[in-house]
């Protein structure tokens, strides 16, 4: 049976892993490769590396560390940050990433999704969506890596999900912004709404604080994977214990 995925997310800035709360106040928490190997050893099903300085600085993620990770890591990983062309994506994929994830550039240039799917196949193309409620409806946000430029765009999250899938997104990571970093649980309501109209794998992001939150998001929002950062970085939820808990509660999980 296909298992649900536990996905630590590593925010990368200037070659180090950092963590902020609600995208702000980042502190360095370790070296990319050290953390990647640690999570692999703990049983992570996949890793996401998000180069948070790439997009605001107008450059793609650095292929050099991607290559280092690809040489050492034997589980899949996805790279996000500043990928705005087929050429950018090719550099990251050929450096060894299994998937690339685009967010702001997909909003500015939706055709990029089609072009990437055409060039590499939909299974390589992840679209990240930063979303939160604005005046009663879920709205897509842009430039979320940079607090000074972050703003909502006139785009309903539910419409955008359908559009990106139609254009060739093979997977969606929905980051529920107002839930991110505060550890009160995933945004079940929003994830359920997106799940209902999303035919490709959906990854929940933002809000994990306890093992129960993971169980809730799998059983109530039927997501394919759950992404989290701080609970793993700070060791408050060891991945191995999380997986045992989920398995005991009937969620299909790779031991």
């Amino acid at each position: 049976m296909l298992t649900r995925r536990i996905i630590p997310c590593l925010d990368v800035r200037d070659g180090k892993v950092v963590k902020g709360v609600r995208f702000r106040d980042h502190v360095v928490i370790g070296e990319i490769l050290d953390l990647a190997l640690r999570y692999r050893d703990q049983g992570a099903d996949e890793l996401v590396f998000y180069d948070i300085s790439a997009s605001p600085q107008g450059r793609p993620a650095d292929a050099q560390w991607v290559e280092r990770v690809a040489r050492q890591i034997d589980i899949p990983f996805c790279v996000a940050g500043g990928i705005r062309s087929v050429a950018d994506a090719r550099r990251i994929l050929f450096a060894g990433a299994d998937k690339i994830s685009i967010n702001t550039p997909a909003i500015s240039n939706p055709q990029l999704i089609n072009d990437l799917a055409e060039a590499f196949g939909v299974q390589c193309v992840v679209v990240g969506i930063d979303s939160q409620r604005v005046a009663g409806s879920w709205q897509v946000h842009q430039f979320t890596g940079d607090p000074d430029r972050c703003h909502s765009v006139p785009l309903s999250t539910l419409d955008w999900v359908q559009e990106v899938v139609q254009r060739g997104a093979g997977e969606i990571v929905l980051n529920c912004m107002s839930f991110d970093g505060v550890r009160n649980g995933y945004d079940i309501e929003q994830l359920r709404a997106v799940r209902a109209l999303c035919p490709v794998p959906l990854i929940a992001s933002g809000g994990a604080g306890t093992v129960q939150h993971f169980l809730d998001v799998f059983t109530q929002a039927d997501v394919d994977g759950a992404l989290a950062a701080s609970v793993f970085h700070q060791g408050s939820i060891p991945i191995a214990e999380l997986k045992v808990f989920l398995q005991q509660h009937g969620v299909p999980i790779r031991p």
Partner: protein
Amino acid sequence: MNARRSPLDVVLIDGGGSNIASVQAAFARRGVNAELSRDHERIGRASHVVLPGVGAAAPAMQRLRALGLDRLIPTLTQPLLGVCLGMQLLFTSSEESNTACLGLIPGRVQRLLEADCGRVPHIGWNQLQALTDAPLLAGLEAAAYAYFVHSYVAPVGPATVATCDYGGAFSAVVSWRNFHGVQFHPERSAAVGARILANFLELA
């Protein structure tokens, strides 16, 4: 062809797939230097040949044809391992853009249907069900987990040695004469993948 083979000499066919570096790294982690080549003579004298592949069937076959590799590969007699799309290319044809493939294993690769599976692509860790005691599966636990990322599948047939279930059974591991293939990514399947690559290198 294949006149002189050194004891272990792995060549990755350079057909342009984007997972080549990762497959190469997986061999490097085993201390095996797998050379990338599109040279017929070089490929011919390798002890083991790997056909990686990520992307779409039609452009992948076009590249192989442009390099004459579509004619070379069927003549190879050493163990060959197709990975992901590389495995699908071993079959007769693919529904993906109605592509004629290498024709080494009978069968037509088909698209996964949302109606059967719920969600396509099939992405994640899923279980292998061994059908036989194939050497490629030696030492694996029952229902071992491997990492899959794909939208097309090869049907179960006489070459199938392990299946995977996603809205129905499909070929997860195939062996047909010296031609082998895995639909999942051994280079990204942790200990299970490492074991399968080690088993492949044991094949003679």
